[in-house]
Amino acid sequence: MAIITVDGQTFDVQEGHNLLQACLTHKLDLPYFCWHPAMGSVGACRQCAVIQYQDEDDERGRLVMACMTLAVDGTRISIEAGQAKEFRASVIEWLMENHPHDCPVCEEGGECHLQDMTVMTGHTTRRYRGQKRTFRNQYLGPFIGHEMNRCITCFRCVRYYHDYAGGDDLQAFGSRTRMFFGRESDGVLENEFAGNLVEVCPTGVFTDKPFSQTYTRKWDLQSAPSICPGCAVGCNTLPGARYGLLKRVHNRYHSDVNGYFLCDRGRFGSHFVNADARIRRAGVRAEDGVFEEIAIEDASVRLSEVLGQGDVIGIGSPRASLEANFALKSLVGEDNFVAGVADNENRLNELMVSIYRESGAHIPTLTDVEAADAVLVLGEDVLNTAPRVALALRQSVRNLSLEMATNAGIPEWQDAGVRGHAQDALNPLFIASIAPTRIDDIAADTLHGTPDVLAEAGFAIAHQIDSAFVAVELFNDVNNFVDAAVKALSEAKRPLIVSGTGCGSAALMQAAANIAWALKGRGGEAALLLTGQEANSTGVTLLGADLDLGSALRKLSTGDVKNVIVLENDLYRRAPAASVDAALDKADNVIVLDVLETPTIERATMVLPAAAYAESTGTFVNYEGRAQRFYQVFEADGATRPAWRYLTDAAKLAGRNDLRWDHVDEVVRACAGTDNLKGIQDVAPTADYRGRANLRIPRETHRASGRTAMHAHLNVHEPKTTVDEETPFSYSMEGLNGDQPGSLIPYVWSPGWNSNQSIFKFQQEVAGSLQGGEVGVRLLDVSANGTGLQNRFRDPPETDSGSTTADGMRLLPLYSIFGSDELSGFSPPIIERSSGPQLVLNPGEAHQLGLTVGGGVKSPGLGSFEVCVSSEMPRGYAGIVLGMRGSINVLPQDAVELMPDPSLKPKRPLDVIARGH
């Protein structure tokens, strides 16, 4: 600790922090622009000027930039000194020379850091008499709008996009007062984390394009804490809604998970909530096959009647809440509940949980990932399956740079100094994957091959670290990769192994576990990150299901069971179409509770409209076993309700006494009776939580004009707000957003700080934990004494011959951040950004098969794909991007036949479309 004096007041500050960090940690209002808590200081904007005094006798002091000055013990500064205030006001005056006065029509207005800083510094009167400079804006794709005239040249965008996120198609161009931040020419921003520019930009240069198209001021947004449904990482989000529509998603700070940043799937994928394909009403299929709308109450009655007709199979879902899955499991009974995941994936999910449980290895948070000093990614294409992990890996490789800088006396926050000194010095990252990944640029070495080849390499690495682990025979071209990885991991202080279920290979995950255990066995630390594929993959696995999907479908197709309830699931993404068809053909009642019109809906006898995640409250469990609560943001139009409520209502009607739950808290309490899930009661306070003065937490800001304005054109009477029985939040501006637990922050705002920069007012220290405590409860942390040696996997994978068989090609799973995920696949900006279904194969084989790049290829029963080639694809194999709408999600085990499909018109790349503008 160091003690500093600010305007006569003393503060304890962290040694090594700069003065800006120190001041903000103590919640002092010191304006800034270019500094960012996750990106450090560069000293460009000169906004955070303070007066620093040399000693007690120094009365004059000198102007320093707080962000560039180390807070050493005994530092005496003034924020309020006239000279400092004058300079800070001048900085704004200089910035305002060229900044347009378009606040009333600017999307940033009302949450603009520049507005806040302008007000804070007191600059009001314009003295500059010249014209403002103007720029031509660029088309940057479906996510981001560009309005360069507003730019104040703080350099945050390039520092984020290029330095932090690794993108190379956004740069600083030009010089003097003509600095331009954009692309070399119009086109889609390539980086998968581009959306964060919206929050990184302190004003309205980079804006959320879908949000702009149906714009609402921040102060009019109704919001609540939420969890991204896009993958297994569980990023904390703040969706905002108005007029019954989800308008946008902002980052919700979590010091251990997503920090300040989301991926573009998470930010722009949530518009599925407003999609035309949303199911808004209940319906039953009439004789003629057409759905007839029925009242929700009637639907519950019908559902209860089905419950009386003997066994019902309940198919849960890894994209539904724990509460909904638990209610279904309780309703149909353990024997009839299916996790709703493809059988192989289900086995892998169970393997993942058992490895975690038996593992002495640490399950890393994303903060832990960022701290790793050597990483092996084994199989999982995290950029496309758990994207935020990839952004964390990009930070992990910089630890060597930070260490070099520290040794040279350069503080870690002195960003340009660190980068200038250490240049591109990176920690070792080894990536073993089926195909090249978009983070290969930071890898020390890469290995491409089938999952079996990768698993063998993994087993070999574990064996070389500790010969007690099973040995495998290796091909020569793998040896170099293995040797280098062994060396790097063995020498590391904080080694990390990353794998997951994406490759569909148990051997890969076993190999990953063996490596972590072997490292741990050497007495060191080792972290093991295994990821599932969906928001609640871990949750449904922990809930447990005795029945697998294949058996369930067989029970239906053989007529053993006549009724099935499908919870928020499209079975065609989980099992081969033929077996789904066979099962549903035979079933008397196919009751589907879902959010969107999926192919499974087409086969339903009754459909119930389920509330989307932003319209309901529930729990997801992320890859690290962290249970996190998401809250209802807004009341949806139509008859939608949380899925668990249909089930409990029907149970009550059927006279069942065991599902008498009226509130989500009661479902949570009952669900916590499950062995694995005890901790979920502690995830967040119950609905009766009240803050100071016994107040609820408001979903709306105190400036919200909604209640009196929204319907004023229809009726001047102020509508009554709904009383929320389910959560501690109010559907209004009444209440107090200030000192509640970290899991209950509905929006960030503080007097004078209208932008997301106000988050520091909610943190214990800048970029530290939330004052109200961190969000979520980790369910899988075990104090394992063993090293894992006793649990090690002893059987190496069987070697695949890998040669082209006479009857065709074997298929390998690939993923795309834009399209592989089911829900975001319904979001218009994601649809615009994604390619169509693609198949990747070796260029030589493509040629042999008469396929042309960009042309079509088809395979009987699988559909059509755009042909892509990669020289890294092993011969005899083709990779298919799974999960794309209209495509497949479950790969056939056998080789398939591929043939040209001249009728396929692949989606044209976006920037080509854009050039027509």
Binding site: S90, R176, M179
Partner: protein, 428 residues
């Protein structure tokens, strides 16, 4: 020998080629330094000679060399010597003269400098427009290489030195040593934060010394003749000679190697031949565009670092720009601000946004649109922009120096513009 820098040039009457250079004992000192001396010895002599940086800042060269870490483990990486030949200071053309007439002298200086800091890579960062220097330097480097003075094991020693010329893409800011290093690395030419200072972490994060052309050219003679000789060359407190230059309406504009500490008046009246008929000298910028005006009362001062600084200006590059009575001080100030605003790298706010505003105010005043309060506005902004530390580097500080001093010495001109709504010298 009292003109170590230009004696050979004068003797040759033009380009000093390899033969002429070697005939005049060229490279003998470098050979002796590399084969017979230790880096430490060289540093000591240069320190003792009190050679100060001729690029403008006047930092003691030997002291700077001493900042390069010595005890690095083997294989730690390269060290670099970079010659700052980006000479973009308006009114300054002394380095060009040295490179175009005696390129081997610079190379010899760089060999000794590189050996003194144990740099195995050296660059000449050359102003983009210096085509002739580029050609001549490359020729000279090729000649030196052919003779084994550059490359591997130079002069038969175990010391390697690669020397390359890098041509600037052309920005004034590249003359700032850290912006220069960024540009050399292929990055945006914007300055770096100090610390770390280049001797600790410079080009590509490695120890780097950046020295001006004239500074390095002085090194061989210092080693050849000794520190005491060099000190004795100066008339006052500073050692050696200096290439002084004069541009403006004098009878004989140009540059001359003179003892350090020659007075301003002697330079202007004796060497530059005095003012042309009909023109009266009103003030000078003593060391380039980014130095404060000096006026009549200062003209008997010796041109040396400490004295000029005490007079409120900087010796800078020692090549002065003269303002005669036909030149409107407001217009000259505007012209200078135009240059500095245009050459701002755009990194920090006060410089990027503040300088164009000053330029615009000056244009308004010059063209008769000045308003009451404009001078105060100019002064307030000038003090906020110009104070060292308020901006990221010293570019804006340099920009404000001529303006603030013009407001001090020629205030009546500014006031008359605003009062009369026109430039008194308009149409002159």
């Amino acid at each position: 020998m009292d003109k170590p820098l230009t004696e050979r040039i004068d003797a040759c009457g033009g380009l000093v080629d390899m033969a002429a250079f070697e005939a005049a004992e060229g490279y003998a000192t470098a050979r002796r330094a590399v084969t017979e001396m230790t880096p430490q010895e060289i540093q000591e002599i240069v320190k003792e000679a009190n050679l100060r940086g001729r690029g403008g800042a006047g930092f003691p060269t030997g002291v700077k060399w001493g900042f390069v870490p010595k005890d690095e483990h083997a294989g730690a990486g390269h060290k670099y010597l970079v010659c700052n030949a980006d000479e973009m200071e308006p009114g300054t053309f002394k380095d060009r003269y040295l490179m175009e007439y005696d390129p081997h002298m610079l190379i010899e200086g760089m060999i000794i400098g590189a050996f003194a800091i144990q740099a195995d890579k050296a660059y000449v960062f050359l102003r983009g427009e210096y085509h002739e220097s580029y050609r001549l330097l490359n020729n000279a480097i090729a000649e030196a290489k052919a003779k084994g003075y550059l490359g591997e094991g130079i002069f038969g020693s175990s010391f390697d030195l690669e020397l390359a010329v890098h041509r600037s893409a052309g920005r004034y800011i590249c003359g700032e040593e850290t912006a220069l290093l960024n540009a050399l690395e292929g990055k945006r030419a914007q300055p770096r934060t100090k610390p770390p200072f280049p001797p600790a972490s410079g080009a590509w994060g490695r120890p780097t010394i950046v020295n001006n052309v004239e500074t390095l050219c002085n090194v061989p003679a210092i080693l050849q003749n000794g520190a005491e000789w060099f000190q004795d060359l100066g008339l006052g407190e500073d050692a050696g000679t200096k290439i002084y230059g004069v541009s403006g309406r004098v009878n004989n504009p140009g540059l001359w190697e003179l003892p350090m500490g020659t007075t301003i008046r002697e330079i202007i009246e004796q060497h530059a031949g005095g003012m042309q008929d009909g023109y009266e000298l009103r003030g000078i910028l003593p060391g380039g565009a980014s130095t404060e005006f000096l006026i009549e009362e200062h003209f008997d001062l010796p041109m040396e670092y400490g004295t000029i600084q005490a007079a409120g200006s900087r010796m800078g590059t020692g090549t002065m720009i003269l303002m005669d009575d036909s030149i409107c001080p407001v217009d000259m100030s505007r012209n200078l601000q135009h240059f500095f605003a245009q050459e701002s790298c755009g990194f920090c706010t006060p410089c990027r946004e503040g300088l164009p505003w000053l330029e615009q105010l000056l244009l308004d005043i010059e063209e008769g649109r000045g308003q009451p309060g404009d001078l105060e506005l100019l002064e307030t902004n000038a003090s906020l922009i110009g104070a060292p530390g308020n901006t990221f580097c010293l570019h804006a500080t340099g920009a404000i120096e001529p303006l603030a001093s013009a407001l001090k010495y020629f205030r009546e001109d500014f006031e008359a513009h605003i009062r009369d709504g026109r430039c008194p010298q308009a149409g002159h």
